[in-house]
Symmetry: C2
Subunit: 226 residues, 2 copies
DNA sequence: AAATGAACTTGATTTACGTCAAGTTCATTT
DNA sequence: AAATGAACTTGACGTAAATCAAGTTCATTT
């Protein structure tokens, strides 16, 4: 168990708990469980009973879905402030996805029961959550439209730019395999390899090795059209 | 202006106002504006000031986005119970999209101010809204994954099956142009034409003319793989 | 330090689907 | 009812990117 002030510090990191008064933050801190997950460990696995909302306090987590045919698909990369398990709010079900920590990670856990209680007690939290979900919907809609209308090169460039902008540190070092990146962007590892090589040739990125991409010209990447 | 009991009837149709007590429903009905929109008319247009959440009480509405290059893209087909404008919750902006009624349509309107007030007063509404948004997120995530991994034929078949299941009436008669369908599914009208012809040959649909597709073998459509 | 295998690169080949083009059908207007 | 034009169909062709295949690099294990 945590010291209370540690829990408060964790809660403060989370966007949906921002701009609350002190009493509410204390109340939230009472309900939140903090957990550390080391690089390579799983935050949760498919089949687990899904009874908690998970909020990223720090780190990077890869959410993957294993299809019936045994193939893995990366669904999402969780960064600080993101949350996962909104379906927990309305469904008592098993997790469909697994989540693996790519870096040492700190998360906040809150159970469905506690979260629902919190929502009824604190309208401010509900509104923050609605805002967050609304933004996620907008983002997904934009992404869906982009997926349908743009080339692999554009999508990759966009992804790199977006992900780097969400990152806390300056030196962009994406701990993802090309395989994951490929499946996330709806392409193949071979194509990722070729496109990154091309970006490298064009001077947009300085290097890309195993789990490592270093950006040099973000503005240039933003203009990639093929 | 509406008679109060008409407003209540309208409110009852809307999923996010379900399972509320009578007092709350009355309160909601006070805030809601009802509007009828005839086939072919616009519910809203890009550039309008976006200050209301729109909830579909009855009918079908096509949401389109006109890109800078002048091309139109269908973003979404709104059916009964769907709502649009969740971004209204957190942004005071102009509408980016236009919405055209494909059938005679009945909608509920509620302003941002009123809705935010409602949220703070009635946690039940907030939770319903969170559920609805959570479901929409899940749906969009599933759609994004499908878009990336499936062929046009599969996507089209899936879309027909899903849309028909959401429809109230039995006889499926989709009032969409092939152009819209094409842009929504990320393909071209020509390809839609060819795929529908193939479905027709395979006995999965009985006919498809201008704004008209009639399904015969939904189970068969669900199995389409190419 | 050698060995093993996963991750990655690079090239050759194939294919689904977009684009262009030339009709045809159908609804609306006059 | 004739005329106009948008929606649609069908065929021919081109291309981005998937797939297949054969190496090469690198990290982990022994």
């Amino acid at each position: 168990m945590l010291a209370h002030h540690d829990a408060i510090a964790c809660v403060r990191l989370v966007p949906i708990f921002q701009q609350l008064n002190h009493d509410t933050i204390s109340a939230v801190a009472e309900l939140v469980q903090e957990r550390h997950v080391k690089k390579g460990e799983f935050v949760f696995m498919a089949g687990d009973h899904a009874d908690s909302l998970i909020i990223m306090a720090h780190g990077q987590v890869k959410v993957i879905q294993s299809s019936a045919s045994g193939r893995e698909q990366m669904i999402r990369l969780l960064q600080t402030g993101d949350f996962d398990g909104e379906s927990v709010l309305f469904e008592d079900a098993e997790r469909q996805t697994s989540a693996e920590a790519l870096t040492d990670t700190q998360i906040c856990l809150i159970t469905r029961q506690d979260f629902q209680k919190l929502l009824t007690q604190s309208p401010a939290v509900a509104i923050n959550m609605l805002n967050a979900l609304g933004k996620r919907v907008s983002q997904l809609e934009a992404q869906a439209a982009a997926t349908l209308t743009t080339s692999v090169g554009e999508r990759l460039a966009n992804y790199l730019v977006e992900t780097s902008s969400e990152l806390e540190t300056d030196d962009f070092d994406l701990p993802l395999q090309k395989k994951d990146l490929a499946l996330y962007l709806g392409t193949s590892p071979e194509t990722i390899s070729r496109k990154l090589k091309q970006f490298s040739t064009d001077g947009l990125i300085s290097q890309h090795g195993r789990n490592h991409i270093k950006l040099t010209d973000v503005d240039g990447l933003m203009m990639v059209e093929n």
